[in-house]
Symmetry: C2
Subunit: 223 residues, 2 copies
Protein backbone atom coordinates (compact mmCIF):
# COMPACT_ATOMS: atom_id res chain seq x y z
CA UNK A 1 0.00 0.00 0.00
CA UNK A 2 1.21 3.47 -0.84
CA UNK A 3 0.10 6.42 1.24
CA UNK A 4 0.58 9.77 -0.41
CA UNK A 5 1.16 11.87 2.69
CA UNK A 6 1.85 14.99 0.64
CA UNK A 7 -1.57 14.89 -1.09
CA UNK A 8 -3.37 14.79 2.28
CA UNK A 9 -1.25 17.63 3.62
CA UNK A 10 -1.95 19.82 0.58
CA UNK A 11 -5.72 19.11 0.68
CA UNK A 12 -5.92 20.10 4.35
CA UNK A 13 -3.91 23.22 3.52
CA UNK A 14 -6.26 24.13 0.66
CA UNK A 15 -9.25 24.10 3.02
CA UNK A 16 -7.55 26.52 5.41
CA UNK A 17 -6.40 28.68 2.48
CA UNK A 18 -10.05 28.94 1.33
CA UNK A 19 -11.07 30.08 4.82
CA UNK A 20 -8.29 32.71 4.77
CA UNK A 21 -9.58 33.84 1.39
CA UNK A 22 -13.06 34.51 2.85
CA UNK A 23 -11.47 36.71 5.50
CA UNK A 24 -9.42 38.61 2.89
CA UNK A 25 -12.57 39.11 0.77
CA UNK A 26 -14.48 40.47 3.75
CA UNK A 27 -11.66 42.94 4.46
CA UNK A 28 -11.10 43.81 0.79
CA UNK A 29 -7.40 42.98 0.95
CA UNK A 30 -5.23 42.36 -2.05
CA UNK A 31 -2.94 39.56 -0.86
CA UNK A 32 0.41 38.84 -2.47
CA UNK A 33 2.53 35.79 -1.61
CA UNK A 34 6.14 36.97 -2.07
CA UNK A 35 8.74 34.24 -2.57
CA UNK A 36 12.47 33.93 -3.34
CA UNK A 37 15.76 32.35 -2.31
CA UNK A 38 17.35 33.55 0.93
CA UNK A 39 18.92 36.95 0.38
CA UNK A 40 17.30 37.75 -2.98
CA UNK A 41 15.94 40.98 -1.54
CA UNK A 42 12.37 40.36 -0.29
CA UNK A 43 12.63 42.55 2.80
CA UNK A 44 14.47 45.34 1.00
CA UNK A 45 11.77 45.27 -1.70
CA UNK A 46 9.14 45.64 1.04
CA UNK A 47 11.00 48.63 2.48
CA UNK A 48 11.12 50.31 -0.95
CA UNK A 49 7.44 49.40 -1.51
CA UNK A 50 6.41 50.92 1.83
CA UNK A 51 8.11 54.19 0.86
CA UNK A 52 6.57 54.25 -2.63
CA UNK A 53 3.04 53.37 -1.47
CA UNK A 54 2.94 55.96 1.34
CA UNK A 55 -0.28 58.00 0.96
CA UNK A 56 -1.51 55.81 -1.93
CA UNK A 57 -2.49 52.52 -0.28
CA UNK A 58 -2.23 51.00 3.19
CA UNK A 59 0.34 48.23 3.28
CA UNK A 60 0.52 45.37 5.79
CA UNK A 61 3.09 42.58 6.03
CA UNK A 62 3.25 39.05 7.38
CA UNK A 63 6.82 37.78 7.24
CA UNK A 64 8.07 34.23 7.75
CA UNK A 65 11.48 33.10 8.88
CA UNK A 66 12.93 30.02 10.51
CA UNK A 67 14.17 32.20 13.38
CA UNK A 68 14.60 35.90 14.39
CA UNK A 69 12.18 38.83 14.03
CA UNK A 70 14.66 41.01 12.11
CA UNK A 71 12.53 41.33 8.99
CA UNK A 72 9.40 42.54 10.82
CA UNK A 73 11.54 45.02 12.75
CA UNK A 74 12.98 46.43 9.51
CA UNK A 75 9.49 46.81 8.04
CA UNK A 76 7.93 48.35 11.17
CA UNK A 77 10.49 51.16 10.97
CA UNK A 78 8.52 52.30 7.89
CA UNK A 79 5.33 52.56 9.99
CA UNK A 80 3.86 49.46 8.39
CA UNK A 81 2.02 46.90 10.54
CA UNK A 82 4.11 43.72 10.37
CA UNK A 83 3.76 40.31 12.02
CA UNK A 84 6.73 37.97 12.18
CA UNK A 85 6.03 34.24 12.01
CA UNK A 86 8.95 32.06 13.08
CA UNK A 87 8.53 28.62 11.57
CA UNK A 88 11.12 26.65 13.57
CA UNK A 89 12.06 23.89 11.14
CA UNK A 90 9.44 24.50 8.42
CA UNK A 91 10.94 25.77 5.17
CA UNK A 92 7.75 27.50 3.98
CA UNK A 93 4.60 29.23 5.22
CA UNK A 94 1.31 27.33 5.01
CA UNK A 95 -2.27 28.59 5.28
CA UNK A 96 -2.55 27.75 8.96
CA UNK A 97 0.61 29.66 9.88
CA UNK A 98 -0.68 32.69 7.99
CA UNK A 99 -4.05 32.44 9.81
CA UNK A 100 -2.20 32.50 13.13
CA UNK A 101 -1.11 36.09 12.34
CA UNK A 102 -4.69 37.41 11.94
CA UNK A 103 -5.31 38.23 15.63
CA UNK A 104 -2.30 40.54 15.51
CA UNK A 105 -3.24 42.50 12.36
CA UNK A 106 -6.23 44.79 11.78
CA UNK A 107 -7.00 43.56 8.26
CA UNK A 108 -9.84 46.09 7.89
CA UNK A 109 -7.22 48.84 7.86
CA UNK A 110 -5.00 47.19 5.24
CA UNK A 111 -5.36 47.55 1.44
CA UNK A 112 -2.43 45.46 0.28
CA UNK A 113 -1.15 42.59 2.42
CA UNK A 114 2.18 41.15 1.37
CA UNK A 115 3.12 37.78 2.81
CA UNK A 116 6.90 37.45 2.75
CA UNK A 117 7.51 33.72 2.61
CA UNK A 118 10.53 31.82 4.00
CA UNK A 119 13.61 32.17 1.76
CA UNK A 120 13.40 28.98 -0.36
CA UNK A 121 12.83 28.39 -4.09
CA UNK A 122 10.99 25.08 -3.59
CA UNK A 123 8.27 24.45 -0.99
CA UNK A 124 6.72 27.93 -0.62
CA UNK A 125 5.29 27.48 -4.16
CA UNK A 126 3.44 24.31 -3.09
CA UNK A 127 1.32 25.80 -0.30
CA UNK A 128 -1.53 28.23 -0.98
CA UNK A 129 -2.19 30.70 1.80
CA UNK A 130 -5.33 32.38 0.39
CA UNK A 131 -3.47 34.88 -1.80
CA UNK A 132 -4.61 36.66 -4.97
CA UNK A 133 -1.29 36.06 -6.65
CA UNK A 134 2.27 34.93 -6.18
CA UNK A 135 5.21 37.21 -6.96
CA UNK A 136 8.78 35.95 -6.95
CA UNK A 137 12.20 37.56 -6.91
CA UNK A 138 15.26 36.14 -8.66
CA UNK A 139 18.46 38.06 -8.07
CA UNK A 140 21.07 38.23 -10.82
CA UNK A 141 23.67 36.68 -8.52
CA UNK A 142 21.69 33.42 -8.41
CA UNK A 143 22.11 32.46 -12.06
CA UNK A 144 20.01 32.62 -15.24
CA UNK A 145 19.26 28.86 -15.31
CA UNK A 146 17.20 28.86 -12.10
CA UNK A 147 13.80 28.74 -13.88
CA UNK A 148 14.78 25.35 -15.34
CA UNK A 149 15.90 23.97 -11.99
CA UNK A 150 13.04 25.27 -9.83
CA UNK A 151 10.15 25.29 -12.35
CA UNK A 152 7.16 25.22 -9.98
CA UNK A 153 7.73 28.64 -8.46
CA UNK A 154 8.13 30.23 -11.89
CA UNK A 155 4.96 28.44 -13.07
CA UNK A 156 2.92 29.55 -10.07
CA UNK A 157 4.01 33.20 -10.13
CA UNK A 158 2.21 36.03 -11.91
CA UNK A 159 5.19 38.36 -11.77
CA UNK A 160 8.94 37.79 -11.68
CA UNK A 161 11.12 40.59 -10.34
CA UNK A 162 14.72 40.23 -11.48
CA UNK A 163 16.56 42.05 -8.70
CA UNK A 164 20.07 43.45 -8.09
CA UNK A 165 20.45 44.60 -11.70
CA UNK A 166 22.88 47.26 -10.37
CA UNK A 167 25.49 44.50 -9.95
CA UNK A 168 24.67 42.72 -13.23
CA UNK A 169 28.02 43.76 -14.82
CA UNK A 170 29.90 41.89 -12.07
CA UNK A 171 28.09 38.58 -12.66
CA UNK A 172 27.84 36.10 -15.53
CA UNK A 173 24.02 36.39 -15.51
CA UNK A 174 22.58 36.52 -19.04
CA UNK A 175 19.36 38.54 -18.92
CA UNK A 176 18.01 37.28 -22.27
CA UNK A 177 18.67 33.68 -21.24
CA UNK A 178 16.96 34.22 -17.89
CA UNK A 179 13.90 35.76 -19.52
CA UNK A 180 13.70 32.97 -22.10
CA UNK A 181 14.06 30.27 -19.41
CA UNK A 182 11.39 31.88 -17.23
CA UNK A 183 8.93 32.25 -20.14
CA UNK A 184 9.58 28.65 -21.18
CA UNK A 185 8.30 27.57 -17.76
CA UNK A 186 5.43 30.07 -17.77
CA UNK A 187 4.56 31.93 -20.99
CA UNK A 188 2.18 34.26 -19.10
CA UNK A 189 4.75 35.38 -16.56
CA UNK A 190 5.27 39.15 -16.39
CA UNK A 191 8.88 40.20 -15.79
CA UNK A 192 10.30 43.43 -14.37
CA UNK A 193 13.96 44.27 -13.85
CA UNK A 194 14.62 46.09 -10.58
CA UNK A 195 17.29 47.23 -8.18
CA UNK A 196 16.13 47.70 -4.62
CA UNK A 197 19.47 49.43 -3.96
CA UNK A 198 19.28 52.14 -6.65
CA UNK A 199 15.46 52.20 -6.91
CA UNK A 200 15.46 51.33 -10.62
CA UNK A 201 12.20 49.65 -11.66
CA UNK A 202 10.50 50.19 -8.29
CA UNK A 203 7.99 52.61 -9.82
CA UNK A 204 6.93 49.96 -12.37
CA UNK A 205 6.59 47.35 -9.62
CA UNK A 206 4.45 49.66 -7.48
CA UNK A 207 2.26 50.49 -10.52
CA UNK A 208 1.80 46.78 -11.13
CA UNK A 209 0.84 46.28 -7.48
CA UNK A 210 -1.62 49.18 -7.26
CA UNK A 211 -3.22 48.08 -10.55
CA UNK A 212 -3.78 44.61 -9.06
CA UNK A 213 -5.30 46.23 -5.99
CA UNK A 214 -7.67 48.37 -8.09
CA UNK A 215 -8.72 45.29 -10.09
CA UNK A 216 -9.34 43.46 -6.84
CA UNK A 217 -11.49 46.26 -5.43
CA UNK A 218 -13.46 46.42 -8.72
CA UNK A 219 -14.12 42.70 -8.78
CA UNK A 220 -15.24 42.66 -5.13
CA UNK A 221 -17.59 45.57 -5.84
CA UNK A 222 -19.21 43.82 -8.83
CA UNK A 223 -19.45 40.47 -6.98
CA UNK B 1 -2.90 12.14 20.26
CA UNK B 2 -0.03 13.85 18.57
CA UNK B 3 1.96 12.01 15.92
CA UNK B 4 5.34 13.44 15.21
CA UNK B 5 5.65 12.48 11.56
CA UNK B 6 8.99 14.26 11.23
CA UNK B 7 10.63 12.19 14.00
CA UNK B 8 9.67 8.93 12.25
CA UNK B 9 10.91 10.19 8.92
CA UNK B 10 14.26 11.23 10.39
CA UNK B 11 14.71 7.91 12.24
CA UNK B 12 14.09 5.92 9.06
CA UNK B 13 16.53 8.22 7.26
CA UNK B 14 19.20 7.69 9.94
CA UNK B 15 19.04 3.91 9.42
CA UNK B 16 19.63 4.28 5.67
CA UNK B 17 22.39 6.84 6.31
CA UNK B 18 24.15 4.30 8.57
CA UNK B 19 23.97 1.70 5.78
CA UNK B 20 25.44 4.25 3.32
CA UNK B 21 28.20 4.89 5.83
CA UNK B 22 29.19 1.20 5.84
CA UNK B 23 29.50 1.32 2.06
CA UNK B 24 31.62 4.49 2.21
CA UNK B 25 33.87 2.88 4.87
CA UNK B 26 34.36 -0.21 2.73
CA UNK B 27 35.35 1.97 -0.25
CA UNK B 28 37.48 4.35 1.85
CA UNK B 29 35.60 7.43 0.59
CA UNK B 30 35.69 10.78 2.29
CA UNK B 31 32.12 12.01 1.85
CA UNK B 32 31.19 15.68 2.04
CA UNK B 33 27.60 16.93 2.06
CA UNK B 34 27.75 20.34 0.31
CA UNK B 35 24.86 22.70 0.98
CA UNK B 36 23.82 26.29 0.18
CA UNK B 37 21.06 28.52 -1.18
CA UNK B 38 20.29 28.30 -4.89
CA UNK B 39 22.99 30.09 -6.86
CA UNK B 40 25.54 30.43 -4.06
CA UNK B 41 28.13 28.68 -6.20
CA UNK B 42 28.12 24.95 -5.35
CA UNK B 43 28.63 23.71 -8.91
CA UNK B 44 31.25 26.34 -9.73
CA UNK B 45 33.10 25.37 -6.53
CA UNK B 46 33.03 21.73 -7.70
CA UNK B 47 34.47 22.73 -11.08
CA UNK B 48 37.32 24.65 -9.38
CA UNK B 49 37.85 21.73 -6.97
CA UNK B 50 38.04 19.23 -9.85
CA UNK B 51 40.79 21.33 -11.48
CA UNK B 52 42.73 21.77 -8.23
CA UNK B 53 42.52 18.10 -7.18
CA UNK B 54 43.61 16.72 -10.57
CA UNK B 55 46.46 14.24 -9.98
CA UNK B 56 46.14 14.55 -6.17
CA UNK B 57 42.90 12.71 -5.36
CA UNK B 58 40.07 11.10 -7.30
CA UNK B 59 36.89 13.14 -7.03
CA UNK B 60 33.33 11.89 -7.55
CA UNK B 61 30.09 13.87 -7.38
CA UNK B 62 26.43 13.14 -6.67
CA UNK B 63 24.36 16.22 -7.40
CA UNK B 64 20.73 16.88 -6.50
CA UNK B 65 18.28 19.20 -8.21
CA UNK B 66 14.52 19.48 -8.48
CA UNK B 67 14.87 19.17 -12.27
CA UNK B 68 17.51 19.22 -15.07
CA UNK B 69 20.87 17.48 -15.28
CA UNK B 70 22.83 20.67 -15.98
CA UNK B 71 25.03 20.42 -12.89
CA UNK B 72 26.20 16.86 -13.59
CA UNK B 73 26.91 17.84 -17.20
CA UNK B 74 29.06 20.78 -16.07
CA UNK B 75 31.01 18.55 -13.70
CA UNK B 76 31.48 15.67 -16.19
CA UNK B 77 33.25 18.10 -18.54
CA UNK B 78 36.09 18.04 -15.97
CA UNK B 79 36.37 14.22 -16.37
CA UNK B 80 34.80 13.64 -12.97
CA UNK B 81 32.23 10.85 -12.51
CA UNK B 82 28.95 12.59 -11.65
CA UNK B 83 25.44 11.30 -11.02
CA UNK B 84 22.48 13.66 -11.19
CA UNK B 85 19.55 12.98 -8.88
CA UNK B 86 16.37 14.84 -9.79
CA UNK B 87 14.18 15.09 -6.72
CA UNK B 88 10.89 16.22 -8.31
CA UNK B 89 9.25 18.13 -5.45
CA UNK B 90 11.68 17.28 -2.64
CA UNK B 91 13.69 20.28 -1.47
CA UNK B 92 16.61 18.22 -0.11
CA UNK B 93 18.50 14.96 -0.61
CA UNK B 94 17.91 12.15 1.87
CA UNK B 95 19.93 8.98 2.52
CA UNK B 96 17.74 6.82 0.29
CA UNK B 97 18.07 9.17 -2.69
CA UNK B 98 21.86 9.16 -2.27
CA UNK B 99 21.87 5.33 -2.11
CA UNK B 100 19.99 5.25 -5.41
CA UNK B 101 23.08 6.74 -7.09
CA UNK B 102 25.45 3.93 -5.97
CA UNK B 103 24.78 1.56 -8.91
CA UNK B 104 25.95 4.33 -11.26
CA UNK B 105 29.22 5.19 -9.48
CA UNK B 106 32.29 3.03 -8.95
CA UNK B 107 32.94 4.07 -5.36
CA UNK B 108 36.10 1.94 -5.18
CA UNK B 109 37.71 4.36 -7.65
CA UNK B 110 36.75 7.51 -5.75
CA UNK B 111 38.74 9.12 -2.92
CA UNK B 112 36.57 12.15 -2.22
CA UNK B 113 32.84 12.02 -2.90
CA UNK B 114 31.07 15.37 -2.77
CA UNK B 115 27.29 15.28 -2.53
CA UNK B 116 25.93 18.56 -3.88
CA UNK B 117 22.60 18.99 -2.14
CA UNK B 118 19.50 20.80 -3.48
CA UNK B 119 19.84 24.59 -3.23
CA UNK B 120 18.05 25.35 0.05
CA UNK B 121 19.28 26.72 3.40
CA UNK B 122 16.75 24.75 5.47
CA UNK B 123 15.91 21.06 4.96
CA UNK B 124 19.21 19.69 3.56
CA UNK B 125 20.71 20.22 7.04
CA UNK B 126 18.08 17.94 8.64
CA UNK B 127 18.82 14.78 6.65
CA UNK B 128 22.02 12.77 7.12
CA UNK B 129 23.18 10.91 4.04
CA UNK B 130 26.13 8.99 5.55
CA UNK B 131 28.64 11.83 5.16
CA UNK B 132 31.84 12.53 7.12
CA UNK B 133 31.05 16.20 7.31
CA UNK B 134 28.85 18.98 6.04
CA UNK B 135 30.28 22.01 4.25
CA UNK B 136 28.14 25.02 3.41
CA UNK B 137 28.52 28.02 1.13
CA UNK B 138 27.15 31.47 1.89
CA UNK B 139 27.61 34.02 -0.86
CA UNK B 140 28.15 37.67 0.06
CA UNK B 141 25.11 38.68 -1.99
CA UNK B 142 22.82 36.79 0.41
CA UNK B 143 23.41 38.94 3.49
CA UNK B 144 25.49 38.75 6.67
CA UNK B 145 22.50 37.97 8.93
CA UNK B 146 21.76 34.57 7.37
CA UNK B 147 23.39 32.54 10.20
CA UNK B 148 20.80 33.98 12.61
CA UNK B 149 17.87 33.18 10.30
CA UNK B 150 18.94 29.69 9.22
CA UNK B 151 20.85 28.47 12.29
CA UNK B 152 20.66 24.69 11.81
CA UNK B 153 22.80 24.56 8.67
CA UNK B 154 25.49 26.72 10.30
CA UNK B 155 25.35 24.50 13.43
CA UNK B 156 25.65 21.27 11.45
CA UNK B 157 28.50 22.39 9.19
CA UNK B 158 32.21 21.87 9.86
CA UNK B 159 33.28 24.48 7.32
CA UNK B 160 31.66 27.63 5.97
CA UNK B 161 32.88 28.97 2.63
CA UNK B 162 32.00 32.62 2.17
CA UNK B 163 31.87 32.88 -1.62
CA UNK B 164 31.81 35.65 -4.25
CA UNK B 165 34.19 37.87 -2.27
CA UNK B 166 35.20 39.41 -5.63
CA UNK B 167 31.89 41.33 -5.63
CA UNK B 168 31.98 42.19 -1.91
CA UNK B 169 32.56 45.94 -2.63
CA UNK B 170 29.26 46.09 -4.54
CA UNK B 171 27.19 44.67 -1.66
CA UNK B 172 26.33 45.80 1.88
CA UNK B 173 27.67 42.50 3.30
CA UNK B 174 29.68 43.06 6.48
CA UNK B 175 32.30 40.31 6.71
CA UNK B 176 33.03 40.79 10.43
CA UNK B 177 29.30 40.67 11.22
CA UNK B 178 28.85 37.53 9.11
CA UNK B 179 31.74 35.78 10.83
CA UNK B 180 30.49 36.80 14.29
CA UNK B 181 26.93 35.63 13.48
CA UNK B 182 28.17 32.30 12.14
CA UNK B 183 30.43 31.67 15.15
CA UNK B 184 27.58 32.59 17.51
CA UNK B 185 25.59 29.71 16.01
CA UNK B 186 28.58 27.36 15.93
CA UNK B 187 31.79 28.32 17.79
CA UNK B 188 33.70 25.42 16.17
CA UNK B 189 32.85 26.39 12.61
CA UNK B 190 35.87 26.91 10.36
CA UNK B 191 35.49 29.77 7.86
CA UNK B 192 37.25 30.42 4.57
CA UNK B 193 36.67 33.35 2.22
CA UNK B 194 36.69 32.35 -1.44
CA UNK B 195 35.89 33.49 -4.94
CA UNK B 196 35.14 30.71 -7.39
CA UNK B 197 35.39 33.33 -10.15
CA UNK B 198 38.91 34.65 -9.41
CA UNK B 199 40.16 31.51 -7.66
CA UNK B 200 40.96 33.35 -4.43
CA UNK B 201 40.89 30.99 -1.44
CA UNK B 202 40.45 27.83 -3.54
CA UNK B 203 43.90 26.56 -2.56
CA UNK B 204 43.00 26.82 1.14
CA UNK B 205 39.71 25.01 0.54
CA UNK B 206 41.42 22.20 -1.36
CA UNK B 207 44.05 21.89 1.43
CA UNK B 208 41.24 21.62 3.97
CA UNK B 209 39.56 18.94 1.87
CA UNK B 210 42.68 16.84 1.25
CA UNK B 211 43.59 17.08 4.96
CA UNK B 212 40.13 15.69 5.82
CA UNK B 213 40.68 12.90 3.33
CA UNK B 214 44.10 12.02 4.79
CA UNK B 215 42.60 11.99 8.31
CA UNK B 216 39.83 9.71 7.06
CA UNK B 217 42.29 7.27 5.47
CA UNK B 218 44.37 7.27 8.69
CA UNK B 219 41.38 6.56 10.90
CA UNK B 220 40.16 3.73 8.65
CA UNK B 221 43.67 2.22 8.69
CA UNK B 222 43.88 2.26 12.49
CA UNK B 223 40.28 0.97 12.90
Amino acid sequence: MKINVMTDVLEANDRIAAANREIFNRNRNLVVNLMSSPGAGKTTLLERTAEALAGKAKLGVITGDIETSRDAERIEKHNIPAVQLTTGTACHLDANMVASAFPYLDLSRIDILIIENVGNLVCPAEFKVGEDCKVMILSVTEGDEKPLKYPLMFRESSLLLINKIDILPFTNFNMEEARANALKMNPELEILEVSCTTGQGIEEWVSWLTQCWQNRVESLRSA
